[in-house]
């Protein structure tokens, strides 16, 4: 029999501590939509996504009602569009507009997969797609884009890194009148996972089934609340144990919702992504967990160690709770989406250099960081290269999502609203990496890649 304490614990988590399912993401393969005529190809894309995902939002809402747990986002990820562009040729923006139209028609929050995988080199489709990203993001509302420029197995494609510096800037410039939102929907990856349900980096990898349901859970608020209830005398081993127990409970819920959605939609269940994903809402911050562990403010010395423990404990707790864990699975540190990080960045406690160190031990990378509007493209490229190097050497996913705030400088802020939040323009190191970036070529795969 259920006992009252357990029931009240679950209800408190949902009602007071912002526990939710962050996203149900349906991955759809578009490989069978390829056509040598781009217009025909777009028609097939629209038809297939509409057919697979027409009930996604309604199913999500029904599950919300059945279990009383909010499901914040319903999203779609698709095969990297560069593969379709390779077959069809033509202007890739047509695909972006098609994705935007179908996203609107089925009612999802975002569609990810305007992507290219170029960690070892470009195909013609990749080049055309990357070149069109800024225009695609400026002319659509729901489309998200990502480019994988490196991997542990293949090294870092520095030609792609050089290009992406320019693309990020241009994406911001073309949307300067909309808070540079274009750059907030563009992620540059190293070791991109093929089954990530979180935006803006979600795409449906070529090794995935035709259609699949992936779930991303959330719950920084729950972890913080559990630590707040614990005694100050707990040592860090006990703190890690508390986090593990909570991560287990959160993930079990993700597993339940994912398997229910997969059953109702008649689509196989892929993975649960165990990430702690913050939102700008009060009490839903990863930075506040670190502060609860015992730091005066996120960004203080000790932040990296605390984050490493948090990230590891979340995985350990979550792994047993789910039959298949995947995606990014760890703690996210997107600055503008996290109330505690915004505050720490505003007062200068949290710097880009510290964030870079943090990305070596957590699940993603330099995420949602606002940089000065006059940052040259080669500095953005160099930021990407540094982050990719951390990912490549440590066999982990890293990513860069920086937003050049066009026309703004340090001290000013960008305001995206919603889950993307807001944040101050952060200080960057302006010494020039131009010569290195101009060299291009490939950084060879590290020794770690030779595992066979």
């Amino acid at each position: 029999m259920l006992n009252m304490t357990d029931i009240m614990e679950t209800i408190t988590m949902i009602q007071d501590e912002n526990l939710d399912i962050r996203t149900i993401t349906m991955g759809i393969s578009l490989l069978d939509c390829c056509d040598s005529d781009i217009d025909r190809s777009c028609e097939k894309v629209y038809e297939k996504i509409h057919r697979c995902a027409k009930d996604l939002v309604k199913t999500g809402c029904d599950i919300e009602q059945k279990y009383g747990i909010p499901i914040i986002n319903k999203r779609i990820s698709v095969t990297p569009i560069a593969m379709l562009v390779g077959a069809s040729g033509g202007d890739p923006v047509k695909y972006a507009l098609t994705l935007d139209r179908v996203a609107r028609a089925v009612g999802v929050n975002f569609v990810g997969g305007f992507s290219a995988l170029v960690h070892k080199g470009f195909s013609p489709g990749d080049k055309e797609l990357i070149e069109s990203i800024p225009r695609a993001l400026a002319s659509t509302e729901y489309v998200c884009s990502s480019v994988n420029i490196g991997s542990t197995k293949s090294g870092i494609n520095m030609d792609a890194v050089r290009t992406m510096g320019k693309v990020v800037r241009e994406a911001a410039e073309l949307t300067a009148d909309k808070q540079c939102i274009g750059a907030a929907k563009l992620v540059v990856f190293c070791n991109a996972p093929e089954d990530n349900p979180f935006m803006a980096g979600a795409f449906h990898g070529p090794g995935e089934p035709d259609c699949v349901i992936n779930v991303g859970v959330s719950g920084p608020g729950v972890v913080r609340a559990a630590l707040a209830k614990a005694s100050d005398d707990c040592d860090l081993t006990e703190v890690a144990d508390i986090i593990k127990k909570i991560a287990f409970k959160i993930t079990r819920m993700g597993q339940l919702v994912g398997s229910e959605a997969s059953k109702r939609l008649g689509v196989p269940f892929g993975i649960v992504d165990l990430s702690l994903a913050p939102t700008p809402a009060i009490g839903d911050s990863v930075a506040h967990i670190l502060e609860e562990i015992g730091l005066e403010m996120c960004g203080a010395h000790g932040t990296t160690a605390a984050l490493a423990m948090l990230n590891d404990a979340v995985k350990k707790g979550g792994v047993m709770a789910s039959s298949n864990v995947g995606g990014l699975s760890g703690a996210f540190i997107p600055v503008t989406e996290d109330a505690g990080m915004i505050e720490a960045a505003r007062c200068g406690a949290l710097t880009i250099e510290k964030l870079e160190a943090m990305t070596a031990v957590c699940s993603v990378g330099l995420d949602m960081i606002v940089i000065p509007g006059d940052t040259p493209a080669e500095i953005i490229s160099a930021i990407i290269a540094d982050e990719a190097a951390i990912g490549m050497v440590n066999s982990k996913t890293t990513a860069v999502r920086v937003i050049p705030a066009i026309g703004k400088d340090e001290g000013e802020e960008l305001e995206f609203g919603g889950l993307l939040g807001n944040g101050p323009v952060m200080k960057i190191n302006r010494k020039s990496p131009a010569k290195m970036i101009q060299r291009g070529g490939r950084i060879p795969a590290p020794l770690q890649s030779l595992k066979n």
């Binding site: 029931i7 597993q255 339940l256």
Partner: protein
């Protein structure tokens, strides 16, 4: 299949009666009720059988909310508690 109804708020006369009546109208059988009143604070957990219910859980929650105003009411399928608290 069973669901859990929780009702929390300031105590007043007739809460249990109104909740049970609404359940009966939805053809949901009450299996177990735990209720406590601490000072003026009312908390109730009710387990119901929803096998033969004539509406969706969401609709039951809506009618409970309109029949018992001023209270925080949740209606949730029991699986969420089982999956979270039982291995």
């Amino acid at each position: 299949m069973r669901a859990v109804i929780t009702v929390i708020g300031r105590d007043m006369i007739g809460i249990l009666a109104k909740v049970s009546t609404t359940c009966a109208e939805a053809n949901a059988n009450v299996i177990e009720v735990t209720q406590s009143v601490l000072q003026e604070f009312f908390a109730m957990v009710m387990l119901i059988d929803i096998e033969k219910m004539n509406c969706e859980l969401g609709e039951l929650q809506e009618s409970l909310k309109s029949n018992v105003s001023g209270m925080t009411i949740h209606v949730m399928h029991e699986d969420i508690f089982n999956s979270m608290h039982r291995i």
